[in-house]
Subunit: 338 residues, 2 copies
């Protein structure tokens, strides 16, 4: 079984929810975890919940990068921050993958400083899931969008690599044999969106191993047209946060209604499928995390708001990705791309 | 009173809803309109509704660019397409502004071929409104986002110009004395988003005449932090269409519930403010249209799905913008920017 290094100090509710998530994983799976962070606080949290001590190791790290800290400054000032120590544990072979719900920029930077990029990979990409309608049986109810912030601006070559990396990850994790790949753009025609996107379109269209479905527009994102959405980091980041903002509005609706419990089911049933679709936007926290792709090790960013359940799921997803040899598959996929 | 040239053949429900909108404007305002399109069909539609013939002129144009036609090919093949003839009527001084609910690309291209850019303007920008929360009394419930597709990629200089143009338009149309201007980005810090955005931030921050509030992120868009959102066309287009896609989901909810009329109000009142906020997303069709800024004449793009009421509003907004001398104000604003 793979061993997962978990940044115990990263996350809005760290270390409590992180430790609890790892505790759950120790009882419900065969996955080994290494919790990296303040030993005393980790011990306190562990002693409060049921867990299997044989599957949990602890590495002490006295510092951490806070959620709102500037990533570079934070890591430079605290070379033994939990996220950096956890990354080194993976690089040293003490664990097989890295999971953190902490500061995203610090996770990306610590990874870039610790793990080599895979052969041929030019830039890493952070791939996030987002919920949308499905169009065919067996389609994953979550799509993948990358990059969402690791690589701010991308050329055609980077976008093609993001497509291959995302498609490989979706194949392994969503168990879709040929994930549909779409290029996020401002029109359907192949010449749209400027030179970089037009070039990326041409190149993606020529890769036989990719199920490239062409350009997808903003209003396609909520539909099921593509399973993997490719874009540069600036665009992906804005889109993802906008979707999250909408999800928060849907949560408002849900929590308001829940406060009036007796009427809640009645109201929901009256409003029908549309609202349920909106509500499903809010469910995705339970789906583990966003993989940081392109490094020789698997890195998974869990949502900052992760609950114990979300952390447990992130650990499971990371373990699956290690078992399915996702980094090696990505390297093989890129070696085959023209 | 200003005279507005209206492309009678552009729009999903053209010419019927366009002609009816102009007919309503002729009864309810002092605005003169010139309807450009198939004379016979315009006459038929006019004869079916009440209107004031003294305020409506017709210019015959035998051709039009269809909604899904490639703009360049369409305009090249049909030099007397209604949108081109209407633009020339404005350039010749027969009308003061141009309104079209037709093919957006054709409207932008016809404008670029007919109207000179204002002095100092490098690129035109299409500015669309979108609904969001308000944070202070008197704040417009619609924000402006530009560019949404006229200029695919933009440098720092273009972004600064978009900010000045958008701020000027919002001042005049929303009657906000100092509209808050935000730069759409992937983080709050001034160095975020790559070199172009970091440069744009520095320059915007130095313009005293602008109420620049810094970077806004995807999740800020639904809040009231900024009244004018600045970004390049690719980003703005994806964001706008994503918001429209969400609005369609909200419309699904509304129409499903409306089919069950008796329960509709009850259900809505149960679900409270969250859903009403979602529903307000769908109301913005009535708010006229998206100005194409940067040319020496005022051009307004109404939504393709515009009803007669939306067309009437677009005509009113265009007339206000002419009276408020928006192009001249933009030129003055740009002359003052460093």
């Amino acid at each position: 079984m793979p061993t997962i290094a978990v940044d115990a100090m990263g996350g809005d509710q760290a270390p409590r929810e992180i430790v609890r998530g790892v505790a759950r994983a120790s009882l419900e799976t065969d996955i080994d975890c290494v919790l990296v962070g303040d030993e005393r606080r980790i011990g306190e949290e562990l002693s409060a919940v049921a867990h299997d001590r044989r599957q949990i190791d602890v590495i002490h790290s006295p510092q951490f990068v806070a959620m709102d800290e500037a990533p570079r400054e934070g890591l430079d000032a605290k070379p033994n921050a939990s996220v950096a120590v956890a990354a080194r544990a993976v690089a040293d072979g003490r664990a097989d993958a890295l999971v953190s719900a902490g500061n995203t920029g610090a996770l990306i930077l610590a990874s870039a400083r610790t793990f080599p990029l895979l052969p041929a990979v030019r830039r890493a990409a952070l791939a996030s899931v987002f919920p949308r309608k499905t169009q065919y049986p067996g389609q994953d109810r979550l799509a993948l969008i990358l990059d969402v912030g690791a690589t701010v601006t991308a050329g055609a070559e980077e976008l093609v690599q993001f497509a291959v990396m995302g498609s490989t990850y979706a194949k392994r994790i969503s168990k879709v044999s040929a994930p549909r790949v779409g290029l996020l753009n401002m029109g359907a025609e192949r010449f749209k969106g400027g030179e970089v996107l037009a070039q990326a379109y041409e190149r993606l269209d020529r890769i036989d191993e990719l199920n490239f479905v062409g350009n997808v527009e903003g209003n396609d994102l909520a539909k099921g047209r593509a399973d993997v959405i490719v874009c540069e980091g600036l665009l992906g980041n804005v889109v993802l946060k906008l979707v999250e903002g909408v999800a928060e509005v849907a949560l408002d609706v849900a929590s308001y209604a829940r406060g009036r419990k007796l009427l809640w089911r009645l109201a929901l049933s009256m409003l029908g499928p549309g609202l349920r679709r909106l509500k499903s936007l809010t469910d995705y926290a339970k789906y583990g995390g966003a993989p940081l792709l392109g490094f020789d090790r698997l890195v998974l960013k869990a949502h900052g708001r992760s609950s114990a359940r979300a952390v447990e799921n992130a650990v499971k997803v990371a373990a699956n990705a290690v078992r399915d040899r996702v980094p090696q598959e990505i390297a093989a996929g890129l070696a085959g791309a023209p």
